[in-house]
């Protein structure tokens, strides 16, 4: 049975979104998204892209942009807009399906950068880049962590003010889709304070070194900056950008957790269905309490992830006072149980789950990858303590 057939049988195909309160416009948007993915990049084609250095096709990116995938956090005057007007709540609809259907591409970083620019860039800076992002003509990514994968608030890239601009030296690690990005939003340090610079990837001194990734549909790279000279218009917002970084992290986590929910929902649905089909000792293995009790726990954790992911997206969209703490709470929880759910789904499948041809491992890879991409659970827990003043 193919992956797609399993998705259909398990009900994961076109299944209900994690948000139970979508409007009819949003439901239509979801349906269009699913139809587009199934027509353009079903699992067989996703697999063909695993060895592609870029990981996706730029023509496909343009078509995705026509559906509004990169416009939802972009203001209307720069070519953006979303179905409901609450851009992040529309974006998580797409994110969830990207996870459920294991899509490649720079959806997360493009939207994070779009939000950052929309909130902090000058009108001129916005006009330079946002229409291209919304239209899928340019690819942008966020260079946030240091070379060791740590959140350093920009300490790993030193930007020194010069006449008319800045010179940057240092490195960023684990940057999503840096290999195909046209624009880099770089978290750096100016005189001890954090700052963000929007830099063209083709600027002399910018070196992108691709990494080998656990998630075969994700592209990550190291980016180094050697005497990279930019003019003053590259600085986005003010020096002292901790608040902006925090907000962007919240947006990243809201999108990421929604995507992980999609991944887990697909894995879990397939696993439950498999346990009904597979027989051993004269009965479906899903009738054994040794397995069905595990699946009951997984079902509970998955429902809890959905509740958390929806609450997080809503809090970040509404800029609620609890968004910061909630982001770390939900990311810590989802990050923890995602790996547990993925491992248990593999366990219930047994040997078949350990084969390359069976698609389960692709989901398992993404589930684990997502649990570290914007911070591992224990890091989120420490930040959660700090957010509560401990």
């Amino acid at each position: 049975m193919t992956f797609t057939e399993q998705m259909v049988r398990s009900g994961a195909q076109g299944s209900r979104c994690m948000d139970l309160e979508l409007t009819s416009d949003q439901l239509l948007f979801h349906e269009t998204t699913v139809r587009f993915i199934d027509a353009e990049l079903p699992m067989t084609k996703v697999r063909q892209l695993h060895d592609d250095p870029v990981g996706y096709d730029r023509g496909w990116l343009g078509k995705a942009a026509e559906l509004g995938w990169f416009a939802m956090l972009v203001p209307e005057e720069h070519g953006g807009g979303s179905v409901s007007g609450a851009g992040l709540l529309d974006a998580v609809i797409v994110a969830e399906e990207l996870g459920r259907r294991m899509q490649p591409g720079p959806f997360l970083p493009m939207n994070i950068v779009a939000a950052a620019l929309a909130e902090h860039a000058s009108p001129e800076q916005c006009a330079r880049v946002l229409p291209g992002i919304a239209g899928g003509e340019v690819v942008a990514t966020w260079c946030v962590s240091d070379a060791d994968g740590n959140w350093d608030g920009g300490a790993g890239v030193i930007a020194v003010a010069t006449e008319g601009g800045f010179v940057l030296n240092g490195s960023r690690g684990y940057v999503q889709d840096a290999q195909s990005a046209d624009w880099l939003l770089v978290v750096a340090n100016v005189g001890g304070a954090s700052a963000q610079f929007l830099i063209e990837a083709s600027t002399p001194g910018v070196v992108v070194v691709p990494l080998v990734t656990l998630d075969l549909s994700r592209r990550l790279a190291s980016v180094s900056f050697e005497d990279v000279r930019v003019d003053g218009s590259a600085l986005i917002g003010a020096v002292g950008a901790d608040g902006a970084l925090e907000r962007q992290l919240q947006i990243a986590l809201a999108l990421l957790c929604a995507e992980t929910v999609g991944v887990l929902d697909a894995m879990f649905s397939i696993t439950v269905e498999y346990s009904k089909d597979r027989t051993a000792f004269g009965r479906p293995i899903g009738s054994f309490q040794a397995l069905k009790h595990i699946m009951a726990d997984l079902g509970l954790w998955l429902e809890t992830c959905k509740a958390g992911a929806v609450a997080l997206a809503t809090a970040v969209e509404q800029r609620s006072a609890e968004a910061a703490a909630l982001a770390h709470t939900v990311a810590a929880y989802v990050g923890d149980v995602a790996t547990d759910i993925a491992q248990e789904c593999l366990q219930i499948h047994g040997g078949i789950g350990y084969t390359w041809e069976y698609d389960l491992h692709l989901l398992l890879r993404r589930a684990r990858s997502n649990s570290a991409l914007y911070g591992e659970p224990s890091w989120h827990r420490e930040r959660l303590c700090v957010a509560h003043g401990l």
Binding site: K292, G299, L300
Partner: protein, 427 residues
């Protein structure tokens, strides 16, 4: 029950104002720090005083607000009840017998309303509402908890009467109660679910012995009852002969509803939930709040608290909107059953040595942690164990097949014999 009556807002406002005046004049303010009084600590004098006070509330028309007038209620709408819920929150509303009162009003009375006959309802329900009678459940037995339909208490017909014999246990608040609703086996040759019948049993009968069960935490909320050939008339039978299982299921539904913590869903705009204050206090008392491993434990417990709260709201909403079937409530129960033991263990970990010994004279955080540790498994066992919830979730929500069963279609007598010989040769 008369929700169809349209209440004008001025009627409701007048009702509310009248209630406010009455509450202010007649009930003391609620002590926000006082929990429900432990059942075994309630003296006879306290019980009598609480009953008298409930009678006063009843006579003012504030008990059984939505109940039919023919059974002693006020026959008013759910809106009226809601007004009472809101207005009375600040007052010490009497709960005679502590948990016994909750069982009587939240579980037994709705069950009687649904399943007792007309004559029984007219005779019994007004006394319950008035506070004259406290009723508890005689349900579980030493040998039948999760497998409730496997009870062994027998009711044997003797002319117009029934003779009940057996042992019941885990009856909350029975030491304060007057009557019990008792599930008994009336047909041993029928399959287990089809030979059960309900009876009203007087707990003050000399042939009934009620003994508090001392729990591992030293408290005693529950009782064990020995029914030693108790004779009850046939008009004490509730529902049809041998059809008690459906009533039992209906009662368990009321029980789940009554045990749902109304404070679990935090109102919107209620601010940020503080991070595990109990755990922070323990860490602070030991000066370990800066230790990384302690911070991890605190944050994990808090994340679980918040996530379970979000799950609860999601499940309640999806059941209300009929997106999920009512069995989804088992997700809430299982979540409590998994997380509360973990949380209790986290507190003990943070307490370290202070959780295993403390001074008798001063309040110590470690003592609280130790008590919670002993209580940690309550939600994992009571009201349907984690394993029962997992069966419900996997079968009714995920559609997984049942385990083969060996008892539902055989005469119960035979089930008992087969069970004893399980796994031996010849079976």
């Amino acid at each position: 029950m008369s929700d169809t009556i349209t209440n004008t807002s001025s009627d409701l406002d007048a009702y509310r104002q009248q209630m406010r005046d009455w509450l202010a004049a007649n009930l003391p303010a609620r002590d926000p720090h006082a929990g429900l009084r432990a059942a075994h600590e309630i003296s006879a004098e306290q019980l009598a005083a609480d009953r008298a006070l409930q009678k006063k509330v009843y006579e003012a028309g504030y008990v059984g607000i939505t109940w039919p007038t023919e059974y002693g209620g006020q026959g008013l709408s759910g809106q009226h009840q809601q007004i009472w819920n809101e207005e009375s929150r600040a007052y010490a509303v009497p709960a005679p017998g502590g948990i016994a009162s909750g069982v009587t009003m939240g579980i037994v009375a709705p069950t009687l309303l649904a399943h007792a006959n007309e004559e029984q309802k007219r005779s019994w329900l007004p006394k319950i509402l008035r506070g004259d009678e406290l009723w508890v459940q005689l349900l579980s037995e030493p040998g039948a908890g999760s497998d409730l339909a496997g009870i062994l208490t027998r009711a044997t017909q003797d002319g117009e009467s029934w003779i009940l014999q057996g042992t019941k246990v885990w009856s909350s608040g029975a030491m304060s109660a007057d009557f019990g609703v008792c599930l008994a086996r009336t047909d041993w040759d029928a399959p287990k679910h089809r030979g059960l019948t309900w009876f009203k049993v007087p707990l003050r009968d000399p042939r009934v012995t009620v003994r508090p069960v001392r729990e591992i935490n030293g408290s005693a909320e529950f009782c064990e009852e020995f029914l030693d050939d108790v004779v009850v008339a046939d008009d004490m039978r509730i529902g049809e002969l041998n059809e008690g299982w459906a009533i039992a299921n209906s009662m368990l539904g009321f029980e789940r509803g009554a045990s749902r913590d109304p404070g679990a869903v935090r109102p919107k705009g209620g601010g940020i939930r503080p991070i595990a204050p109990d755990l922070v206090e323990i860490a602070r008392s030991r000066a370990t709040l800066t230790h990384g491993h302690v911070r991890q434990l605190i944050a994990k417990a808090h994340a679980n608290d918040v996530m379970h709260e979000l799950l609860t709201a999601r499940v309640v909403s999806s059941i209300t909107k009929r997106i999920s079937n009512p069995s989804a409530a088992s997700y809430i129960k299982l979540g409590h059953g998994i997380l509360q033991p973990l949380r209790a263990c986290a507190a003990m970990e943070i307490a370290g040595r202070t959780g295993i010994a403390w001074s008798a004279d001063v309040h110590a955080h470690g003592e609280t942690a130790a008590t919670n540790y002993l209580n940690g498994r309550i939600m994992a066992i009571a009201g349907g164990s984690n394993q029962i919830q997992r069966n419900i979730i996997s079968e009714r929500l995920l559609g997984l097949p049942r385990e083969p069963n060996f008892d539902t279609n055989k005469p119960f007598r035979e089930v008992l014999r087969t069970a004893r010989n399980w796994g031996t040769k010849g079976e």
